[in-house]
């Protein structure tokens, strides 16, 4: 009986193989000349903004190339994607190109599973002169560009001009310092204009930005850029605790609302006119404008800093494209062609218009679609000028940490503890730092980082 089944199975298998071969032959016949190199691109851009634009890019690229065909595959959010890469990185079950968020940079380099973008740039003498220097400064490690910046943003202040007017504040002059924000928020609430002066989501990225705005380092060894970081240092000086004290103080005084961790809640509160100010990524400007539905005039301002913090600036956030070395050389080369395509001025302008991330290169603003957009949303100039006015130094380049995703979570625990009044700011940060340092130690040992 077993013999018979096996024979039948074999026959069936053979039949299927023959059919598949026939089908393949039939499909290949019209193309004949050459089979295109097929590559996959893993990305984390969901939603009606991101995914739609990525799909359009891939379609345009595929239509323009006979030799390369790209398949874009959505792999969940940034965290999901890097976890998936982590699981498959030792094998060939990886894509040719992957989009990885800013804070995954150190891990990707240490994984040794990538081809540095610089190799392709040098080989082809590719000109990066038009790229925003601040963006290159983030993704360059030891003067080498490891990945190609793709979607970038910074954090800015959003405010409701109508509520400012109601509270007797100048709607054309957003607050710039910690003190100003606190006093504006207090006045907004006291005047009865709004139940909440400012709503800041507990998001570690904001903490990192606020440190950089003061010119303070997140991790030692020059933010992990002179040598691999061995510990975080945000609890050493007063820059870190000052952020949490300011933040918790406003919540305690009733001037600020704590919306919890995800920014979705603070965005809704702001769009609904329930809070006068919020901080968020520049990438949400268009969405906030459409969600508020023209119910109020929306203003934008620089991300705050304490008075007298001169050397500070903003760090870019977002993600970049990485080429993986586990795929055959032909695929790597095809991946490079695709990376060049998505970072070209035309695509970057389209990306900017479609998603709200800003272009990684200056010449993208010359494209007519981008010009139109800037004329329509002058608020967007805030983001560009905030970035361009930021000096490039170790603080504003941002930290490199192999365990950054976990570190960010720990810093959120610290913010939460301080805002809820469970711990004093200094202690909350010291506790978080201790846990992060342990994780860094384990990471550096297991990855053999020195």
């Amino acid at each position: 009986m077993t013999g018979r089944t096996t024979r039948r199975a074999v026959l069936r298998g053979a039949g299927a193989a023959a059919a598949a071969a026939a089908l393949r032959g039939w499909r290949a016949a019209p193309a004949a000349a050459q089979t295109p190199t097929r590559i996959t691109f893993w990305h984390a851009m969901g939603g009606n903004l991101g995914e739609t634009v990525v799909r359009a890019f891939v379609n345009t690229f595929n239509a323009s190339r006979k030799d390369i065909q790209v398949e874009a595959q959505f792999q969940g959010g940034y965290d999901d994607l890097i976890n998936k890469l982590r699981a498959s990185i030792g094998s060939s079950a990886v894509p040719a190109v992957a989009q990885v968020y800013d804070i995954g940079t150190r891990f990707m380099i240490d994984s040794k599973a990538i081809v540095p973008m610089q190799d392709f740039i040098d080989r082809e003498k590719f000109d990066v002169g038009q790229f925003e220097p601040n963006i290159l400064a983030y993704y360059r490690v030891g003067a080498r560009l490891y990945s190609m910046p793709f979607n970038t943003s910074t954090a800015i202040l959003y405010y409701n001009k109508d509520l400012f007017k109601k509270a007797g504040l100048n709607p054309d002059q957003p607050p710039r310092t910690f003190e100003e924000i606190a006093s504006y928020a207090g006045r907004l609430v006291k005047s009865g204009a709004t139940p909440s002066g400012i709503t800041i989501a507990i998001y570690g990225w904001f903490f990192e930005q606020l440190l950089a705005r003061q010119g303070a380092l997140y991790a030692n060894n020059g933010n992990g850029r002179d040598a691999a970081a061995t510990e975080v240092v945000y609890d050493h000086e007063e820059a870190g605790p000052r952020i949490l004290e300011w933040w918790a103080g406003m919540v305690k005084a009733g001037a600020a609302t704590n919306p919890g961790r995800p920014t979705a809640a603070s965005q809704r509160a702001f769009a609904a006119g329930q809070t006068a100010m919020t901080v968020d990524s520049t990438a949400v400007l268009a969405s906030l404008l459409s969600q508020s539905g023209g119910r109020f005039a929306l203003g934008t301002g620089y991300f705050p800093k304490p008075p007298g913090a001169a050397t500070g600036g903003s760090i870019v956030g977002g993600a970049s494209a990485w080429i993986l070395n586990r795929r055959p050389r032909a695929e790597q080369q095809a991946a490079w062609e695709f990376v060049k395509f998505i970072s070209a001025p035309a695509q970057q302008a389209q990306w900017y218009v479609g998603t709200g991330y800003f272009p990684v290169r200056r010449d993208a603003y010359h494209e007519p679609v981008a010009q139109e957009r800037l004329a329509k949303y002058p608020q967007f100039l805030t983001a560009i000028s905030e970035l361009r006015s930021s000096p490039i130094n170790r603080a504003t380049q941002g930290a490199l940490l192999g365990v950054f995703p976990e570190a960010r979570q720990k810093s959120e625990d610290a913010i939460e503890a301080a805002v809820l009044g469970r711990k004093p700011a200094q202690q909350a940060l010291a506790d978080a730092a201790r846990e992060v340092n342990q994780a860094i130690g384990v990471y550096n040992r297991t990855m053999g980082v020195k």
């Binding site: 996959t40 893993w42 984390a44 851009m45 969901g46 939603g47 009606n48 903004l49 991101g50 995914e51 739609t52 398949e71 595959q73 959505f74 792999q75 969940g76 959010g77 940034y78 999901d80 998936k84 699981a87 498959s88 094998s91 079950a93 894509p95 943003s153 920014t263 979705a264 965005q267 809704r268 769009a271 609904a272 006119g273 329930q274 968020d280 990524s281 990438a283 949400v284 969405s287 906030l288 459409s290 969600q291 508020s292 539905g293 023209g294 119910r295 709200g356």
Partner: protein, 274 residues
């Protein structure tokens, strides 16, 4: 007589109120999915959209191939449910009706696997499935979940309540073990099997991490990842996401509307002689 009717009406009103509370999240999701434009973020929130609009559904279906995702989830969850029913029934039968050396020890070993969190086995399972070449296939999606310690435990506890006399009688009448299992134990255990089936189906339907890990292409994605596909990295369009949620829960609601009768019939079978 009148007071009895009044009391019944009061009870019904109370039940309707409680049902509304329980259903509120779903009803609000439905309402949100029908809100167009800026109404989603209006404050105070509106209970029902002023101008119901199906635009979010059109957008959700254009954004993600949800029908395909539904089919994939149905195949995966269906295979897992069927697999768990078969393996758990056979294992529980062995642990209950067949005496063999080390039975007790083996059973406790089985139970001990319940203490291992699923996250721990995720990566080893992934490596196994990858080496089998099952990435991006239904086999890969379902394989690690075809057997269940919890289900075996559940069914064993139920089988223990079946009188041993029934087994003796069946054996005396010449029924084989297999016949006893299929014609006596399984029909009697219908309520327990239905419970296990519902539990298995729902757990599989709600899986996120595993399908994300073993599937790469959009074609093989399951519904929960379809929901993630509707969310942007930086901002969430609630109307769109809620439209996706409603589309995705619709089939499960249908399964239960039809499955429910089975469960109730199973639960009450033989309760009253007649």
């Amino acid at each position: 007589m009148r007071t009895a009717r009044g009391r019944r009406a009061a009870v019904h009103l109370l039940m309707i109120a409680v049902a509304l509370v329980v259903l509120f999240p779903i009803l609000f999701a439905l309402s949100t999915s029908l809100k167009g434009g800026a109404e989603v973020d209006r404050y105070p929130p509106t209970l029902w959209p002023h101008a119901p609009d199906a635009g979010n559904y059109v957008a959700a279906l254009r954004q993600a191939p949800l029908p395909r995702f539904l089919l994939n989830s149905l195949v995966q969850a269906g295979a897992i449910t069927l697999g768990q029913l078969v393996t758990a029934t056979l294992a529980a039968f062995a642990f209950t009706f067949i005496a063999f050396p080390g039975r007790q020890a083996l059973f406790f070993l089985f139970l001990a696997t319940l203490m291992i969190p699923g996250e721990v086995t995720l990566i080893p399972n992934y490596l196994t499935v990858r080496s089998l070449g099952w990435l991006d296939t239904y086999a890969g999606l379902a394989a690690p979940y075809l057997a269940t310690a919890f289900g075996t435990f559940l069914l064993r506890q139920f089988f223990l309540t079946i009188p041993r006399e029934l087994e003796d009688a069946a054996r005396i009448d010449g029924a084989s073990r297999r016949r006893f299992l299929w014609t006596i134990v399984v029909p009697l255990a219908r309520p327990a099997l239905a419970t296990l089936a519902i539990y298995a189906f729902l757990s599989a339907w709600n899986q996120y991490l595993w399908p994300l890990l073993v599937v790469n292409s959009t074609r093989m994605r399951t519904v929960q990842i379809g929901l993630a596909l509707l969310q942007s990295q930086e901002i969430v369009s609630w109307g769109l996401v809620m439209a996706g949620v409603i589309i995705i829960i619709l089939p499960t609601v249908l399964v239960f509307l039809f499955g429910y009768r089975q469960v109730v019939r199973g639960l009450t079978a033989g309760a009253v002689k007649g």
